[in-house]
Amino acid sequence: MELFKLDFGLTFWMFIAFAILFLILWKKGWPAIINQIDARADLIDKGVEYAQNAKTQLDNARAEAEQQMAEARRQQADILREADRMKSQIIEEARQAAQKAAQKEMDQAKVAIEQARKEAEQNLRDEVSAFALDIAGKVVRNQMADDKAQARLVDQLLDEMASKN
């Protein structure tokens, strides 16, 4: 079979041609191409990693910001509540102070009234005693004339006093 015979010239040329092809591509082709492809793959890997990191950082930052916002809102609410509490406390205190002051005033007034009443009582008593002295004077004067008249006089005077008060 002709097909299974090894042709010397063809083998020779094949070897030469393949050797030349291999040498050229070995020196100028494949290693450089592979290095470039590897370098690009590295670059892409790094890019992806960088992007992932950036995304994680962004996510973190966003979460942090949200947390801070929530914190701020909470603080705001706290402050408002505190203010509210303080407001009512102040009002309460003021009311209490006012009450105290009013009480004091009232007490003073009471004391003054009491004093006035006592003074009035004293005055009344002084007057009654003056009246009594007056009456006693008149009784003493009328005593001599008639006992009955005396008694009538006393009654009359007492009635007068009662109607007066």
């Binding site: 002709e2 097909l3 299974f4 015979k5 090894l6 042709d7 010397f8 010239g9 063809l10 083998t11 020779f12 040329w13 094949m14 070897f15 041609a17 393949f18 030349i20 092809l21 291999f22 050229i24 591509l25 070995w26 100028k28 082709g29 494949w30 290693p31 450089a32 191409i33 592979i34 470039q36 492809i37 370098a39 690009r40 670059l43």
Partner: protein, 390 residues
């Protein structure tokens, strides 16, 4: 669809009728002049020649230079001087005289179709370094591979880290496919050391296979279906494998881990291992050669069917033409696939043979993985063979 069935049925009907009518005279006509010698045609297309047919001009030939080393030194002349000329029914074999030495093409004998020297009226074989069709095809493949690889390199140089698109991108994708998928995954850290050789092998075979499928001039040579080419490639893998083999590899060959009686006093295992060194390139040679030659042969035979059935009448010829062309087209499409698969398989097996010779120490785990891989490849190859056989 229905129409197609009817047409096919009609074709077969006429075909069988005519065949029945003309089978008897066809046998008697077989060896007449002008008759088609099928074997000759097939082998003419499959084997190497001194000329290359001009595209779409049957009978016109591109005459390639003949370079021979005769008894008195080097001779270079055009193959136009010696190629046989068809004059009517006669074929004339011209004799060319180049500085007192006569050359012609042998008509018979072991050197049939080759250039021989005539010394004292006898045909004497010469050392033939001619730029034949296949040699030219090798150089065309080399140039195509160079252009492909260097275009990627040039793109990288010009565009930095940018990824190429379109054609250059496709070539790069192929490089990455082979480098990452085959070389790196098998050889690991040593991938870069052997990648230049393996990538060259892959691209050379791939380009040669595809060029071989083209029917006209820059293609059409049955390059990878020639045993000289596949053997040279396999021998180079053999050299790379054994030249860079580790100590452990050689130890495994001459003193493998088997019971003592298997290697001493009768070196049974070492003999088998040494035999194995040589069967690997042989398998590489034959696989590529047989696959590619088979593909070419099937397409040629399918085309020749037209000429065989043409003797039975115009109707049959027309019918056969349609079927032959459809089948040839189908086979050529399969051959495109086979072209890639064979280049891939050759590269993968070369990678595995090299990696087997790169073993260090007793890494049983690794060996197991390699075995599994080899097993997988063996299965693939068997599947391939079954497909090729079909």
């Amino acid at each position: 669809m229905k129409q197609l069935k009817v047409i096919i049925f009609l074709i077969f009907a006429t075909l069988t009728l005519n065949a029945a009518a003309s089978s008897a005279p066809a046998e008697t006509k077989e060896h007449k002049e002008g008759e088609l010698d099928l074997k000759e045609v097939i082998f003419e297309h499959l084997s190497d020649r001194y000329g290359w047919e001009v595209p779409f001009c049957h009978g016109r030939t591109i005459h390639l230079p003949i370079i021979v080393w005769g008894h008195d030194g080097l001779h270079v002349f055009s193959s136009k001087r010696v190629l046989p000329v068809h004059e009517g029914h006669e074929t004339v074999y011209p004799v060319y005289t180049d500085s007192n030495t006569q050359f012609t093409i042998a008509q018979d004998g072991p050197k049939k179709g080759k250039v021989v020297e005539i010394v004292d009226g006898k045909e004497v074989p010469v050392k033939d370094f001619s730029i034949t069709k296949n040699v030219l095809a090798i150089w065309i493949s080399v140039i195509v591979v160079l252009v492909m690889a260097l275009s990627v390199r040039r793109f990288h140089k010009r565009n930095g880290m940018k990824a190429p698109r379109k054609g250059v991108g496709a070539i790069e994708a192929l490089i990455v496919f082979i480098y990452d998928g085959v070389i790196k995954s098998t050889l690991g850290a040593k991938a870069k050391k052997f990648a230049p050789y393996l990538l060259t092998v892959f691209f050379f075979i791939f380009v040669s296979n595809l060029l071989g499928l083209m029917v006209v001039f820059p293609g059409g040579a049955n390059l990878t279906g020639n045993i000289a080419i596949t053997l040279t490639l396999a021998v180079m893998t053999f050299i790379v494998t054994n030249l860079f083999g580790t100590k452990h590899y050689w130890k495994d060959i001459f003193w493998p881990d088997v019971p003592l009686w298997l290697k001493f006093p009768l070196p049974i295992m070492p003999l088998i291992e040494i035999f194995g060194i040589f069967t690997k390139p042989a398998a590489l040679t034959v696989r590529l050669f047989a696959n590619m030659m088979g593909g070419h042969m099937i397409v040629i035979v399918l085309t020749l069917l037209i000429f065989i059935f043409a003797q039975m009448g115009a109707g049959v010829a027309a019918g056969t033409s349609v079927i032959s062309v459809l089948f040839s087209l189908f086979m050529l499409l399969i051959d495109v696939l086979v072209s890639f698969i064979q280049a891939y398989v050759f590269t993968m097996l070369s990678t595995i043979f090299i990696s087997l010779a790169q073993e260090e120490g007793h890494k049983h785990e690794e060996k197991k993985a390699d075995d599994a891989e080899a097993h997988q490849i063996a299965q693939e190859v068997v599947a391939e063979a079954v497909k090729a056989a079909n």
